[in-house]
């Protein structure tokens, strides 16, 4: 039982923090939980509690449930997702929270794969979940959001009340990408956000034509957003307080190299390149990443050329190295020099 309490306290109260914060939080917590020896091996934020094997529950490291990556020829490069311990971790939570119909908010710097990860999770649940995907921009109007929502739901009359519900046997998951993008209007509000807030607060929305109240039931909202800055606005706390906030950790260097090398290896294998080329795969990835690290240093020292003053390095974090790794995936085996030799 102390495991249950420990797990819930740690993940419940610490997972919204940034990496620094999480580390400090762990230090604090290990002091608090000192008395019990039931903690997991290694870092708390890498483990979850599982009762599948029954009994008192056991800690499972997220790295243990990472599926292996399969390179698929048909997919666009940007649709490739290499599962890592972090993606597995947050997929796990998104799934659980949708199942209890609780709103969840995923934040984290650019390039951590927040969007694609949540999209995949919800897509994989399509048997029980009606998927509503929206992507906000600064020009998103509240009316279009409402139309989008209403078009997916069925109207039903219940005790004289109009209800909007997902098709039977399903619940709705509303995935909103870049939720903090909408422009702040003169009076400090963000109209699409206010609509969603009304939806959560009063569990319903008003019909635009008939001006009557429609209850919306059986849904969970999944907000995805990078931290404010560079066109992203801070969301009002009246809205965010309805959400369980999770912060996705920045992808570590090890993980980056793991991701790129598994893509490259998959590519080289599927197109049956010569072993000479397959062998230099690791070098290629390492060279790209170290080049990228050098590039970051130089850019960092010249803030004038940075596109976003508040976060000079983040926009290009993975995009650049992703692109270079993508370029590596272009040549066909017949064009490679070793083939001819």
């Amino acid at each position: 039982m102390s495991k249950i309490v420990m797990y819930c306290v740690m993940w419940g109260l610490g997972s919204h923090l940034s990496e620094d914060g999480q580390t400090k939080f762990q230090v604090l917590a290990s002091g608090l939980f000192k008395s019990s020896s039931d903690g997991p091996k290694g870092e708390m934020f890498d483990n979850y509690l599982s009762f599948q094997s029954g009994g008192d529950g056991s800690w499972v490291h997220f790295a243990e449930i990472v599926p292996s990556f399969q390179y698929e020829k048909e997919l666009n490069y940007f649709q490739l997702v290499v599962p890592t311990k972090d993606t597995v971790c947050y997929e796990h939570f998104v799934k659980q929270f949708i199942e209890i119909r609780s709103h969840i908010f995923i934040t984290g710097v650019t390039g951590t794969g927040k969007t694609i990860m949540t999209e995949n999770t919800i897509h994989n649940m399509h048997e029980t979940v009606l998927e509503v995907k929206m992507s906000f921009s600064s020009q998103t109007a509240s009316k279009s959001v409402q139309i989008m929502l209403e078009s997916k739901l069925q109207q039903q009359r219940k005790k004289g009340q109009i209800m909007l519900i997902p098709p039977p046997g399903k619940r709705m998951a509303v995935l909103i990408d870049d939720i903090n993008m909408p422009m702040v209007e003169t009076y400090g509000a963000q109209p699409p956000i206010e609509l969603l807030r009304q939806l959560i607060d009063t569990s319903g929305i008003y019909d635009r034509n008939g001006l009557f109240f429609k209850e919306v039931d059986n849904y969970a909202m999944v907000g995805v957003a990078a931290p404010p800055g560079g066109g992203r606005n801070a969301l009002t706390q009246r809205f965010t307080r309805h959400f369980s906030v999770f912060n996705v950790k920045k992808t570590s260097d090890d993980q980056l190299s793991m991701i790129f090398s598994s893509i490259l290896r998959g590519f080289l294998k599927i197109f049956s390149f010569k072993p000479e080329i397959v062998d230099i795969e690791q070098n290629m990835v390492e060279a790209t990443l170290s080049l990228y690290a050098k590039f970051l240093l130089n850019v960092g020292s010249r803030p004038s050329c940075c596109p976003r003053p508040t976060s000079p390095t983040t926009p290009s974090t993975c995009a650049t190295s992703r692109r270079s790794s993508r370029a590596c995936s272009w040549p066909s085996p017949s064009a490679s020099p070793t083939r001819r030799s």
Binding site: S2, W11, L13, L17, L49, P227, V245
Partner: protein, 118 residues
């Protein structure tokens, strides 16, 4: 309504008002009301409640000093924590917990009563 900073005198004059201070209604009420509705024996509820609540003050003191990417409130985080409990405590697990003899049960009660005296 969270606060009156945006309310005009007209609004205020129309409302009857009940003021609830943060100090009166804190996270501990939330947590205890959650545990009370769990289908568990009362002693077990109490143990879980006590062990959970005992961590909270120092954690929230720490959190108030630590910046987070999205501003959060203690109440919001408490809700999140309770959702974790909700996810974990499936009916089958609750059944299993009922049958477990928890060794620290009597000890926990003792500390609680001694705390009351002090």
């Amino acid at each position: 309504m969270a606060d009156l900073s945006q309310a005009s005198p007209a609004t205020v004059s129309r409302c009857g008002m009940v003021y609830i201070d943060d100090f009166v209604l804190t996270y501990s009420e939330l947590v205890s009301s959650y545990f009370q509705q769990l289908p568990l024996p009362q002693s077990l509820q109490q143990v879980m409640l006590n062990s959970t609540v005992s961590f909270l003050p120092s954690i929230f003191a720490f959190l108030s000093k630590t910046p987070s990417p999205i501003a959060t409130t203690p109440i919001q985080l408490t809700f999140k924590m309770l959702k974790f409990f909700q996810i974990l405590l499936t009916p089958s697990l609750v059944e299993a917990l009922k049958n477990v003899k928890y060794p620290g049960l009597s000890q926990c009660r003792a500390t609680r009563s001694s705390r009351r005296k002090s």
